[in-house]
Symmetry: C2
Subunit: 280 residues, 2 copies
């Protein structure tokens, strides 16, 4: 990566943490950053996470560009930057939903530019550059979602960035990614939001304070950023609706077993879930 | 509590931890224990958590008896022991569901014996005396569920046991208890089991390993003891079914918003949940 110039668009938790993770690393690329928020750029410059606060036009001249803005806004940014990039350069992103972004990114980039989707599996409930953390990706998985026919060198370039930031790598095609993450991430968030919403819309007052940590721990992800998760569930809407329908069926099944007082059925249902969960 | 003899029926995680919590405490009662499993009694005797392994008949002669067996089995034990206890003595339990147990316990006890429901809010995924831990109740809440007309001294006796074990106290009537816990504990468990079940019953293989801790953390409670939770949801069946219906309505609401791509609606829904969750 030495001698390469990396542009990061969006210096929030994801982009800011990437910049900080590369800071001072041997063989790390030179990092330029841009953000709508001037304060984030100033903070990133002040702490040395980026060597230059760049315009979008300047970012487009970098060898590799990582777009780290919210997923629904990312397509427009990718299209604007992608068409201005130079042949041989690589454009990637860090969004939580991949199929549409990858399809549109591949269609939008200039001749000779590669668009390769990326998704580092990391995050916290916090956001913005002040929440950025150089160890955020350490030991976490970064998923890279190449398509058939993508240039292997371009894929490796994207992988090397996340490797340098401390992540382990995994390749997955975009459609599989969105299917898997509908279940392991997006559905759990909707379920958690719905559970807390159910308690909050009761006529009776249900005090939540003394729930032995159970309710608090279980619903921690309902504290996630509503705007970000609104974007994610809409961006992954077809998979999301399929996952919700499948979950609803499984919920109706246990509700029916409880209604019928089917002891053996409930035991088998809970036991099956425990076995799957214990196997993670 | 000094000079008082306390009988614990069931030396598993809950009863065993109570015995260990009282062990060596200043002013703690003398503790007798009984368990269907002879090995548990032997282990409790060996480590000094109980001073005598007693029969159920002997336990019934104690001043205070705490029944710590699974909630669906507890009613029969409470009825058997309650009718044999001496006037002035107090019978209590530690079950997670209260209304029916309290009604039947009150009806079953001999003349002059008080039945007062109890529920220490503590537990782990483990069970049995080897999992017993003298610090399990430290700083946790023990709920005591007296009814109108109960003897205040008897209620205080039960409270003092949990206080001595390190718990903070809270009083709640049995029906309110079951309503509240349907939401803060029982529904989350069913939701977690259903979520894991949904993933486990997919035709496609959804690898769960690299879910960034999110899925693993969120579904931790789906590793809970299936037999114990089968008992709890059946014991609290009417509240459970009401809670499930209310949750289903709230889930359908967010599903509808996602289907309609109602950005403002989704944002408001997630935002409301986050506000409630952050307020815990």
């Amino acid at each position: 990566m030495k001698g390469i110039r990396l542009g990061i668009v969006g210096l929030g938790l994801i982009g800011g943490s990437l910049a900080r993770a590369l800071q001072g690393k041997r063989g790390a690329p030179e990092v330029w950053g841009s953000d709508r928020c001037k304060e984030s750029v100033r903070l990133a410059l002040d702490c040395g996470a980026i060597s230059k606060g760049a315009t979008e036009r300047e970012i487009a001249r970098c060898d590799v560009v990582v777009v780290c803005v919210p997923v629904r806004a990312s397509v427009a940014v990718i299209e604007r930057i992608g068409k201005r990039m130079r042949p041989g350069s690589v454009l990637t992103d860090a969004g939580s939903v991949k199929a549409e972004v990858v399809a549109r990114g591949r269609a939008a980039v200039a001749e000779g530019v590669a668009f390769i989707g990326g998704h580092p599996i990391a995050g916290t409930e916090n956001s913005g550059f002040p929440a950025a953390d150089g160890t955020l990706y350490k030991g976490r998985t970064a998923i890279v979602t190449p398509c058939v026919g993508d240039d292997e060198a371009a894929v490796r370039t994207v992988e090397k960035i996340w490797e340098k930031a401390g992540a382990r790598l995994l390749r997955m095609d975009p459609a599989t990614h969105d299917h898997v993450f509908a279940y392991v991430s997006h559905l759990p968030h909707v379920v958690a939001y719905a559970l807390v919403h159910a308690v909050g819309t009761l006529d009776t007052n249900v005090p939540l304070g003394y729930s032995a940590g159970g309710f608090r721990d279980f619903t921690r992800i309902a504290s996630s950023n509503p705007a970000m998760w609104k974007d994610i569930v809409l961006q992954n809407r077809p998979e999301m609706l399929r996952a919700l329908a499948h979950y609803r069926k499984n919920l109706a099944l246990i509700e029916g077993l409880i209604r019928k007082e089917d002891e053996a059925g409930i035991l088998a249902y809970f036991g099956r879930s425990k076995k799957i969960r214990d196997g993670i």
